[in-house]
Amino acid sequence: MESLLSNFLAKYNYWVYIGLVMIGMYAMIAKRNLVKKIIGMNIVQTAVILFYVSIGAKKGKTIPIIAHGHEETGHHAAQAIDYISPLPHVLMLTAIVVSVATLGVALALAIKIYRQYGTLEEDEIALRINEP
């Protein structure tokens, strides 16, 4: 039991990410309003970003900028151990931009749908589609 608890506590970041994915997916599938679905989609993307960033984290280590001052003479080689790994951050910069882009296009389409049907509720849209 004790190892289970410590195991659980050691990985609490991943439970948050799994929770977020589930919330996002639920919103996307269950909600009827289109904008809520878009928000759900964004939650899923953010959850994946959180997962990636938590991969690179190292407890008690500093951000990956090599400390330097103008007067620094000899460059002592930077140890990899005392900086958090930069790669996930680079990847997630890209993923954030992707989620912004998708959000932009989704909202543009939502505007187009609103202009066409006058509503963003899926049930009303379904009604308005059937009668010509």
């Binding site: 990956p64 296009v105 909202l107 543009a108």
Partner: protein, 276 residues
């Protein structure tokens, strides 16, 4: 529908949960992810590219190709919104509101009638009546220049502190959007027209791809900045650092332009006459 959603979500949660026992602990320095490629970046970034901020080094040099496509994604999002929403044909005859500057009287002209352009006393206002509010206009007029200045700082200072093209570009875009929000969209158009925004976004990404092509033409692989060495009269390492700076500027320009054109299209739903 809700139960179906619940079931799928629980199933999905189970699937994600299935892998977690073998995850390395969170923040554990010896996790495989931080033992393979990251150490190389941390140890060699400064020697290779003379850029202390390793994230910018990896972002613009080691994995610069990813970031180029990143800018292409943001560019295509801008073009997509333009393509989806833009309405060119003047269809409906709309009622227009004009305010007489001296007296503050509002003039309502129905059926699409228009006052002669450039008449000094009258100034067109949004049909959704916006109260004339001194505080917002004055404060935004004060803040906007400083925000833009800070944005340029963020772009330029990406080497040494957290920042870079994307962040700087977004801040710069935010400045212009703040200006458009505080005044009205038409004034923002006079500052940065739609055509200028499109040109700037294309130019920004072209800077990025252009430097890559330049390296290709100079004999190296695509995006290999060390090829720019003799052009920039520096050694290979500094050439990489300068290459990263040029690329960051390109990204900043592109992201700023796209953010602004996204706002233009989304706020006016493509008609480009009245915004939020």
């Amino acid at each position: 529908m809700k139960t179906f959603a619940l079931i799928t979500v629980l199933l999905l949660g189970g699937l994600l949960f299935y892998g977690t026992p073998d995850f390395p602990d969170w923040g554990d320095p010896a996790s495989p992810a931080s033992l393979h490629v990251s150490p190389y970046y941390i140890e060699h970034a400064v020697e290779d590219t003379a850029v202390p901020n390793i994230v910018t080094a990896v972002l613009a040099d080691y994995r610069g190709y990813d970031t180029m496509f990143e800018t292409a994604v943001i560019f295509s999002a801008g073009i997509a919104c333009l393509f989806l929403l833009r309405v060119y044909r003047r269809k409906s005859a709309r009622t227009r509101l004009y305010r007489h500057n001296l007296t503050g009287v509002t003039l309502r002209i129905a059926k699409g009638g228009k006052l002669p352009e450039g008449s000094a006393e009258f100034e067109r206002i949004d049909s959704v009546w916006v109260p004339y509010d001194m505080i917002i206009k004055v404060t935004s007029r004060l803040i906007v220049p400083f925000v833009q200045l800070f944005a340029l700082y963020v772009i330029a200072h990406g080497h040494h502190s957290p920042g870079g093209g994307f962040q700087g570009g977004v801040i710069f875009g935010a400045a212009i959007i703040l200006y458009a929000l505080s005044n009205d969209l038409r004034r923002a158009f006079r500052r940065l027209s739609e055509k200028a925004a499109l040109l700037a976004s294309a130019a920004g990404v072209l800077i990025y791809v252009g430097t890559g092509l330049l390296c290709l033409l100079l004999g190296g692989n695509f995006l290999d900045y060390s090829m720019l060495a003799e052009m920039l009269h520096t050694d290979a390492i500094m050439a990489r650092s300068h290459g990263i700076l040029i690329v960051e500027i390109g990204v900043g320009l592109a992201v700023m332009a796209v953010m602004v054109s996204l706002y233009y299209n989304l706020s006016s739903a493509g008609r480009h006459d009245e915004g939020l």
